[in-house]
């Protein structure tokens, strides 16, 4: 295989790897972390070259130390993860420069470290990248559920009884391995381009997380291959050509999203922000204007069990509460399945969903899938389904007055139920 086909293969494999792991980086907002990691592995690479060891190995060892330091700083009060990344980034890079200046004969150079040299990648570089890609695919296939749950609903994840550190460790490990394997080929700065841009573009266009996880590697590999081809056609450096192609994909995605085609949902509802700033207090999970997505109903026994258990429950119940109730009746159903079934039921309008003040999702079976409202007791959770014709008329009229069509709304009234009011009055009287 000549050097050019090797470069194409390397660009495809590394692009796919960066795209896949990049989706985790972008969804979990760890881009600055990845950026700091690329710079801070520099002294590891220089050190390994000084000792005559393998450069990726040195970079990997250095990055483990760095992740440790960043975790420590990130936990100190008034410091946080941004500070940790910034400190480690500047310190690592300065240390690498210093080591290199003291040993000018070393083969590790700043410019190739920053922009890489994909035309000089070897078969073993590609093998390493392919190995890491395989591991990343396995991780997503086997732990995808946990990864996504902890990314999109950290409170729910904790409430469901999972521990956070194994998932955090898994993602940090994947990011570190990706950065270390991608750097010799595309360099520190351009590795960040390949990690962030395809994933961010995929996130703009995809409707589900599964689609992101498939689209991002494809976009990454395409960016890699077209970058290498462009660099030959236009006679420019390969690394920057790849980075600019990836950035162009992102711009294209942004443009497509800004101009929705007829028949598509408005952009804001394509895909929820994974970590929105949630105000405390009750809020309905269902987006009032959002048309219900037609999903093929998977009426498995688990789903039926969840549906039955939910309709046997009075008032709102948490995922964990329902799960323990099911377990008490001898059902072997898994917590994540309960979580997913409840989310599906809520999506199809068969269950109502609220955020409790501490961020946990609470569910309740609806007696009807027709449009209705709730009266909810703030204290005991007692819920009454109510018709509110006055609200319907008012909503229709006020929408029409402003020229709105297809208006929809969610109205839930919170208060103290009669029993709780009496109990509260009694306590006050005694006090």
């Amino acid at each position: 295989m000549d050097y050019f086909s090797t470069a194409l293969l390397a660009a495809a494999v590394i692009g796919a790897l960066c795209g896949l792991v990049g989706s985790l980086v972008v969804l979990r907002r760890r881009t600055f972390f990845a950026q700091a990691l690329t710079h801070a592995t520099f002294p590891g690479a220089v050190g390994a070259a000084m000792l005559g060891l393998s450069i990726p190995l040195g970079a990997f060892v250095a990055s483990i130390a760095i992740v440790g330091i960043m975790t420590l700083i990130g936990r100190v009060r008034r410091q946080g993860s941004q500070v940790a990344s910034g400190i480690v980034l500047t310190a690592g890079f300065a240390l690498g420069v210093l080591l290199q200046a003291l040993n000018p004969s070393l083969p590790v150079h700043v410019d190739s470290f920053l922009v890489g040299s994909i035309l000089t990648t070897t078969g073993s570089d590609i093998g390493l990248a392919a190995g890491v890609l395989g591991l990343a695919v396995l991780a997503v296939v086997f732990f995808g559920k946990e990864l996504l749950l902890s990314t999109f609903d950290p409170n729910g994840y904790r409430a469901a009884g999972y521990r956070e550190w194994p998932v955090e460790l898994l993602t940090l490990g994947l990011i570190t391995a990706t950065v270390v394997t991608a750097m010799p080929a595309v360099g520190a700065i351009l590795a960040i381009a390949l990690i962030a841009a395809p994933a961010a573009a995929a996130r703009l266009l995809a409707r589900t997380v599964g689609q992101i996880l498939i689209a991002a590697p494809v976009l990454g590999a395409t960016a890699g291959i077209s970058g290498v081809l462009l660099s030959r056609a236009l006679d420019v450096a390969a690394g920057p050509a790849i980075a600019l192609t990836a950035a162009a994909f992102f711009l294209l995605a942004l443009a497509v999203r800004q101009a929705p085609l007829p028949g598509r949902q408005p952009p804001d509802q394509w895909f929820p922000d994974p970590r929105p700033d949630r105000p405390a207090g009750h809020r309905s999970c269902r987006n009032p204007g959002q048309p219900r997505v037609e999903v093929m109903k998977r009426n498995t026994w688990q789903r039926e069990a969840v549906r039955t258990a939910l309709s046997d429950t009075v008032g709102f119940v948490s995922v964990q509460g329902l799960h323990s109730r099911l377990h008490a009746t001898g059902s072997p159903i898994g917590l994540a399945t309960v979580y997913r079934a409840l989310a599906d039921l809520a999506g199809e309008g068969e269950a109502d969903c609220l955020q409790s003040p501490d961020g946990e999702s609470l569910y309740r079976a609806c007696s009807t899938t027709d449009h209705h409202h709730h009266l909810i007791c703030r204290h005991c959770g007692l819920t009454v389904e109510i018709e509110a014709d006055a609200v319907e008329t008012w909503a229709k009229n006020v929408a029409a007055e402003h020229g709105f069509t297809q208006a929809a709304h969610v109205v839930d009234v919170f208060g103290l139920c009669a029993a709780c009011t009496a109990a509260s009055a009694a306590t006050t009287a005694i006090a």
């Binding site: 907002r29 009060r77 300065a94 420069v97 210093l98 690394g239 952009p267």
Partner: protein
């Protein structure tokens, strides 16, 4: 050559005095802009800006030689600051947007430089600067641009602090968040421009990030943050320059001056961090004084 000679006498040499002068001005910047970067969590944007300046410097150099450097850098930096402020309002995750913008800008810079000039020399010069070969004109340029950046921030300081601590309250009272973000981004961009041709982007970034973080470790009093950060940066710059001088004159080891100053800054941070952790531990163990109980 003893330590005292390096700490004091070295600065009678004009090139050492110029380097110290620039670094002292940057310390003042660290004391104000750096603290705001820390309070607002804009470390990644600062990092992005240092990379995004590169194409401006490259194109400016190709187009107008040494005089073109500054103009090009200012255009590129202000452009990036505005693009970032606009992108921060969009649905894209901010960190991904920053990463894409700065890698794209940096790539353009690399392509321009690799086609036109001595590629490696330019890149290294941008990253690490020429701290010891700064000309008088460059000192004046740095001081003037830093002064403009400081003025921008000083005029809006109260509003910036309000926004840093209570984002919702600030916009509810009627301050426009976009304008405040823009002012701060442009100020950071100006500092990056002013300093990067002289001291290199690495040192600028360290000056923007590290002293603010140290101040946060040392004090909880808001108005003390500013002097603490400035004094820390100034002392670290002085020690770092002297250390580099001592190593090269006294021991014959050629330490890169920018990287040495950065490492002194970071060592100071490490000391402050360990001190803070120990202090917290001691306070946690010690029972409260009787008067409080």
């Amino acid at each position: 050559m003893d330590a005292w000679g390096a700490l004091l006498d070295a600065y009678s040499l004009p090139f050492m005095a110029r380097a110290l002068m620039v670094l002292l001005v940057l310390s003042l910047v660290a004391g104000i802009v750096g603290v705001l970067v820390n309070l607002r969590g804009l470390e990644f944007i600062s990092d992005g800006l240092t990379h995004a300046v590169f194409p401006g410097i490259a194109i400016g150099f190709v187009w107008g030689g040494r005089e073109g450097l500054f103009a090009g850098a200012i255009v590129a930096a202000v452009l990036t600051a505005v693009v970032l402020a606009v992108l921060m309002r969009r649905a894209v995750p901010v960190d991904a947007a920053i990463a894409i913008v700065f890698t794209a800008m940096f790539s353009i810079g690399v392509i321009v430089v690799s086609r036109e000039t001595n590629y490696v020399g330019q890149l290294e010069q941008l990253l690490f600067g020429r701290l010891l070969t700064i000309s008088v004109v460059e000192v004046v340029q740095t001081v003037v641009i830093c002064a403009i950046a400081l003025l921008l921030v000083a005029v809006t300081l109260k509003e910036q602090l309000f926004r840093a601590f209570d984002r919702t309250g600030s916009s509810a009272v009627g301050y426009r968040p976009f304008v405040l973000d823009l002012v701060l981004n442009v100020a950071i961009a100006l500092v990056v421009v002013a300093a990067s041709s002289a001291v290199g982007t690495l040192l600028v970034l360290a000056v923007l990030i590290v002293p603010g973080a140290v101040a946060r470790l040392v004090t909880v009093r808001l108005w003390l943050l500013f002097p603490v950060a400035a004094v820390f940066a100034a002392v670290a710059a002085w020690l770092g320059l002297s250390l580099g001088y001592l190593a090269s004159v006294g021991a014959g080891v050629n330490l890169p001056s920018g990287a040495t100053v950065v490492l002194v800054l970071v060592s100071g941070y490490a000391l402050a961090l360990v001190g803070r952790l120990l202090l917290d531990r001691v306070r946690a163990l010690r029972p409260l004084p009787a008067a409080v109980r």
